[in-house]
């Protein structure tokens, strides 16, 4: 039964622009921003998608050559994210670097939380609002890696705007509301291909109009289609062409629908809405009307998500990200309505004031340090991948302080995070010419992330702590290196092929200053075989002791030292460590031979990235200190 709350006009911040309500929204925004920054960090981690996007951003801004063909998706032949690239380009044009864009995404995510709270409160009261905001903010990291910057970073905010737009169509059906919902859907479809189903949601809410519903539905579908196409015609034409050329040409993919934390909320919202059809009371109809916008966003995509594996499409949980705002609202409305249905009138009225304190309680909980309410989430401080800020600091140390140019950095930097090399050209301008190699000792550079307890105290002189938190540290170690990286011998033998191809090669740079090694097998194609390198050693003063260590780390291709026994070179029995001594040896070893077997237990095919695999080389003291830490991890 529908009851009019007589105290509604006296209720604090009764949803009518009162200072109390605005203060609650502001508190939630600030707290949401704090929580998002704890989750995602102030600087994004180094990530392939980020640098692939950055390539297009720099091509557009620097060379005035911009693409309207997006990046490839998990679906072969399909591309997306043109709108994301456009927004990235606009933000870069306005002067925002990667850290600035990342911070902007956290601001938008906080704003999305406030939108979700506001919409749910408008539809079902403050209990629904707080519940929806809680569901939206909690476990934000599970569907997508929030510490990285990619097109999905924008999806939660757009999802919140879209459910708002769809609800506006239900409440105020008409040309304008349908057009706006269609346009927002079009933008979303060009940010992420999974959002193309928003067109069906626009048609659904248009059909709820009391008059001219079919006309509005046709108008909505046409607006969505035209706007989606107009944002990136080449992209959609090529997608369509590829779809026609290869319809369902891949085996059924795994269904990920049931392996995500959002499923419970989505099912709660949808099932309650369906059950409401069994009730005859006007309140049930009112509940359905209030939930209609959110349900219209959820159901079409869920239907497509459920049948996608039958057509060979991957149904990964991350594609549900744009449903999170709608799912939170639908579930919250169901819960709030159930709670009110259970409570009797006098108790319900007494709880009104308590209910209006809930936004501040939630804001306080979100802003608190520690893991509640982000329990079970991976926070930014848990990441063990360097950030863009780390990389910027490293280039400042090597370039500004050490005088290294880009080529020298790409040549001399060793790190287990190969993606770092994709990002360096965007942080330091390539200079014409290259600094000549200094005969004799050169400085090397090793970039590692360590647990806080692994950091030696005090830090050795050759160690530079780039960033430090309570749990981890990013460290740049500067050993004295003897390897001449200008040129080295490379032998490649594919598995099952008796032919062994050897040649002289080295690190090269293409027109975009991307580093590659000619004749190294291409990564990402499951290549298996043996790679051997013969590295020349620079002349050094007698008495110098250098060491090489081959680590075993996740995502690192582990190798061995295969140099034959020689005066001045001692290798350990497991062939993972070697000492090179010039003490009393005038003509000590001039080369060192290393070997990697790609596709073996020590070197997974996924760990091979097409560049020289990571190993540690330098003066004995520095290598020993790093080796001790890395060996302990293996234990």
């Amino acid at each position: 039964m529908l009851t009019q709350d007589r105290s509604a006009s006296r209720r604090p911040g009764d949803l009518k622009r009162s200072p109390y309500y605005y203060t609650a929204c502001a508190a939630l925004f600030v707290a949401g921003l704090v929580a998002n920054l704890r989750l995602a960090g102030w600087s994004p981690i180094v990530w392939p998608d980020t640098f692939n996007d950055e390539f297009e951003v720099s091509q557009c801004l620097v060379h005035d050559s911009c693409t309207l063909r997006g990046v490839s998706t998990s679906v072969p032949g399909q591309a997306h994210a043109v709108a994301w690239l456009e927004l990235r380009i606009l933000l870069a044009w306005l002067g925002l670097g990667l850290d600035g864009v990342h911070f902007t995404m956290q601001v938008l995510n906080a704003l999305a939380a406030v939108l979700v709270f506001h919409l749910a409160t408008q539809l079902g009261g403050p209990l629904a609002g707080v519940t929806a905001a809680w569901i939206f903010v909690s476990r934000a990291d599970v569907l997508v890696r929030v510490t990285a910057l990619h097109n999905q970073s924008l999806v939660p905010f757009l999802g919140a705007v879209f459910v708002l737009a769809c609800t506006a169509v239900v409440e105020r059906p008409g040309i304008w509301s349908v057009a706006l919902a269609a346009l927002v859907g079009a933008v979303m479809a060009n940010v992420h291909l999974a959002c193309v189903v928003t067109g069906a949601s626009v048609v659904w809410v248009a059909l709820t109009a009391p008059r001219r519903r079919f006309l509005l539905a046709v108008f909505g579908a046409a607006s969505f289609g035209l706007a989606t196409f107009s944002i990136a015609p080449p992209n959609w034409l090529h997608n369509l062409m590829n779809l026609l050329q290869h319809p369902g040409g891949h085996p059924p993919g795994p269904g990920g629908m049931w392996e995500n934390p959002l499923r419970g909320w989505l099912l709660l919202g949808v099932s309650t809405w369906l059950i409401s059809f069994a009730g005859r009371a006007p309140a049930w109809a009112e509940y359905r009307r209030r939930s209609h916008g959110a349900i219209a966003v959820i159901v079409p995509f869920l239907a497509a998500f459920l049948v996608a594996p039958l057509f060979g499409l991957l149904a990964e949980p991350k594609y549900l990200l744009h449903l999170k705002p709608a799912g939170a609202i639908a579930a919250a409305l169901a819960l709030a309505s159930a709670v009110r249905g259970v409570l009797r009138d006098p108790l319900r009225r007494r709880l009104i004031r308590l209910e209006w304190m809930l936004p501040f309680v939630l804001a306080l909980v979100l802003a608190l340090p520690g893991r509640l309410p982000l329990r079970a989430s991976i926070l930014a401080e848990d990441e063990r991948v360097p950030t863009i800020a780390d990389l910027t600091a490293v280039t400042r140390i090597l370039h500004d302080e050490g005088g290294w140019d880009l080529a020298r950095i790409l040549e001399g930097l060793r790190t287990p995070y190969g993606v770092v090399f994709s990002g360096l050209p965007y942080l330091i301008a390539a200079e014409d010419g290259r600094k000549p190699a200094v005969a004799g000792l050169r400085s090397g550079a090793v970039l590692l992330m360590m647990e806080a307890h692994e950091l030696p105290e005090p830090s050795p002189a050759s160690w530079r702590v780039v960033r430090r938190s309570a749990s981890a540290a990013t460290v740049l170690v500067l050993p004295q290196s003897l390897i001449d990286w200008r040129e080295f011998g490379l032998c490649v033998q594919p598995a099952g092929d008796p032919a062994r191809r050897c040649e002289k090669t080295g690190l090269r740079f293409d027109g975009s200053e991307r580093v590659f090694v000619p004749s190294m097998p291409l990564p990402g194609q499951g290549w298996r075989g043996v790679i051997e390198m013969s590295l020349s050693l620079l002349p050094a003063a007698p008495g110098l002791r250098q060491e090489i260590f081959m680590p075993r780390m996740p995502s690192v291709c582990g190798g061995q030292i295969i140099s034959p026994p020689a005066p001045g070179l001692e290798a350990s029995p497991d062939r993972r460590r070697a000492a090179i001594s010039r003490a009393g040896v005038e003509n000590g070893p001039s080369t060192v031979e290393l070997r990697w077997q790609v596709g073996s237990p020590d070197c997974d095919t996924g760990a091979y990235d097409g560049l020289v695999p990571f190993f540690v080389e330098g003066d004995a003291a520095t290598v020993r200190s790093i080796e001790t830490i890395l060996r302990e991890r293996e234990g």
């Binding site: 557009c60 609800t167 034409l237 040549e411």
Partner: protein, 211 residues
């Protein structure tokens, strides 16, 4: 007597239903018939070519490689290389030619001849049809190698006949920055408008829902 409005609504409904049926039929036919799909692909390729016609990319035909092979066979390349360099590798791609030469110390040096639009970055030289991009090599800069590479590039550029370059469907058109920035600004405006409309259009509920 049916009103004009109900007749119109009936017509709209009928039109929508017929349109859906046609679309469904077309989709079903396209899905089932590979010939129909092929025709669809041809249609879309034609549309792409029409839309992107002004800036279709240029590509090299097989006669480009033949012309270079003849050049090498005549010994004209050796005159340019002199005795200090040898040709290590020549690779003719869709829209560029990669050339690698080696010196007596077995160090390699490379130059890429790229058709306009095929490669980004600032070229190191220019011929009749190609832009020349030197590949940065580690080690001390070898000025002699640079001169030889550019001479080789000019020789190859003169040897490639006009018939070896044609318009092709490969690659993609690039667009000006102003278009992208305008598009992004428009998208932001749409989102802001939807936000404002939604915030204003959705009334609050003063009622409690009893279930």
């Amino acid at each position: 007597m049916p009103s004009h409005k109900s007749n119109r609504n009936r017509a709209v409904r009928t039109g929508v239903l017929v349109g859906c049926a046609l679309a469904l039929g077309a989709a079903t036919t396209a899905a089932a018939d590979s010939a129909t799909r092929a025709r669809g692909v041809d249609l879309i390729q034609g549309l792409i070519a029409y839309l992107e016609r002004p800036l279709l990319r240029q590509c090299l035909t097989p006669s480009a490689g033949e012309a270079l092979a003849e050049l090498v066979g005549r010994g004209e390349l050796e005159a340019v290389l002199g005795g200090d360099f040898v040709l290590v590798r020549g690779n003719v791609r869709t829209d560029q030619i990669e050339v690698e030469i080696g010196d007596r110390g077995q160090r390699s040096y490379g130059v890429t001849l790229a058709l306009p639009g095929a490669k980004s970055g600032r070229p190191n030289g220019e011929g009749r049809r190609f832009l020349f991009y030197l590949t940065a090599s580690p080690g001390l800069p070898n000025q002699r190698a640079r001169e030889v590479l550019l001479s080789v590039a000019e020789l190859f550029d003169r040897a490639i006949p006009e018939s070896a370059v044609e318009l092709c469907m490969e690659g993609e058109r690039r667009y000006p920055r102003a278009l992208i920035l305008a598009s992004a600004a428009l998208e932001i405006s749409v989102v802001l408008a939807a936000l404002a409309f939604g915030l204003l259009a959705i009334p609050s509920t003063g009622e409690r829902l009893d279930l």
